[in-house]
Amino acid sequence: MDLLIQFLTNTGYYLMDFRNVIMLLVGSLFLYLAIAKEYEPLLLLPIGFGVLVGNIPFFKGFGLGIYEPNSVLHYLYFGVTTGVYPSIVFLGLGAMTDFSSLLAMPRLMLLGAAAQMGIYFTLISALALGFLPKEAASIAIIGGADGPTSIFLTAKLAPHLIGPVAIAAYSYMALIPIIQPPIMRLLTTQKERRIQMPDMRDVSRTEKLLFPAAGLILCCFLAPASIPLLGTFFFGNLMKESGVVDRLAQTARTAIIDTATIFLGFTVGASTQADVFLTPKSVGIFFLGAIAFSIATASGVLFGKIMNLFMKQKINPLLGAAGVSAVPGSAREVHQVGLKADPTNYLLMHAMACNSSGVIGSAICAGILWSFLV
């Protein structure tokens, strides 16, 4: 009988409290959004299931939890805390990204830079709310709308916040169709939304080959702390564009990035153990994350309008919203909002240029913040 009672007191049913229930509901919501709504399913499905796994109550000391040394989850989580997974994800991203549109219209890169202003506004806001500088920087990077970059910087500066920061970043990325369009419509007129972008010129193979080298040198010399992200990113892109290592490029953009995404999503989800995750700080992080994301979108759009004051060839300010690096979600939204204003207005390729620029911009911002705070 004692044995049975001892067994029952060790079960999850006995150890569960309301916080676990909340987190199980959050995980279920993520799974619902991923499967039923198809919002960023590649991210939300592993994270959602990870949340379920991480919030099954267990008897502490068995070496089961993600924060317990020698547990399997702890070893898998190693790739997150060391920044290995984000770096590998960037390798795959580089091998996927086609920079033709950015090379054809380099001025769109400025919109990617402008959209990073959300990061710095959030940095100030987080400091004002009483977060420590390293925590504030980790929260601010959510404004870059780049999951791997957010996780990378948080792992370096405030590892105890990886769970909330990652969940906030990926949640807002998944909610792009809800967050961004109202901001875009609020800040632009119907006439501005109808501005059609010119056709892009053809980009030669030599240009595409030169870009990764030029990008690496310019960006990493400026912010060497972004080497782990941009180094692999541009390497992946060179593999793609060189055309001489198709097998490697193919592996990087399929098997390697998929493997890293699975473990990244799953372990980040599992790191949201209720006792660690459900704190007032997490609430603050979610609040600031929403602000960061909204301001990033707004600053991109407003910068597009400012550029139009000085340029002969007007650009569609909606493109500024794609300056956040949520690839390709934000570019898709820009395209959709543009199409609603004018069914013949195709902005997707131009928006992808801003998106690519946003990826580079947010990685540079991560490097800058890391340099400031180490």
Partner: protein, 135 residues
């Protein structure tokens, strides 16, 4: 510590302004550089084209310089064949007569044989378009 006081104490204003300016400057420079990439690419492609043209020319040149090998020719044999004909023509003779005689006798490489014998000093001019045979 909260609010503006916290921002100032943690150097927040400086970090935000400097960070924003650095990323803006960095991406502006990158945009400027990539706006010129097509010129560098055109320059490199032009250079590569020139090099490939040169390579092609080098490859073609030896083919053009190849001169077909002359048929196997033995000057002693030619001398032996033409000597009896020269004897028929007399001590001095005209090359055209020798040529016609050799040609009608269906001797091989008539022109080449006469030219070789001229160059080797077997057939020697004596003036007035006439030649003599010297062994």
């Amino acid at each position: 510590m909260y609010g503006l006081e916290a921002i100032s104490a943690q150097n927040g204003w400086a970090m935000a302004v400097a960070g924003a300016m650095i990323v803006m400057a960095g991406l502006t420079v990158l945009a400027l550089v990539i706006s010129q990439l097509h010129k560098i690419a055109a320059f490199l492609e032009k250079g590569a084209e020139k090099r490939s043209e040169k390579k092609q020319a080098v490859k073609i040149a030896p083919q053009e310089a190849v001169v077909p090998k002359p048929p196997a020719f033995d000057i002693d044999e030619a001398q032996a064949r033409l000597k009896p004909l020269v004897a028929e023509l007399g001590e001095s003779f005209e090359l055209t007569n020798l040529y016609e005689l050799a040609y009608s006798g269906e001797l091989p490489h008539v022109h080449l044989s006469i030219r070789s014998l001229r160059e080797s000093g077997v057939i020697v001019p004596v003036g007035d378009g006439r030649f003599v045979w010297r062994d």
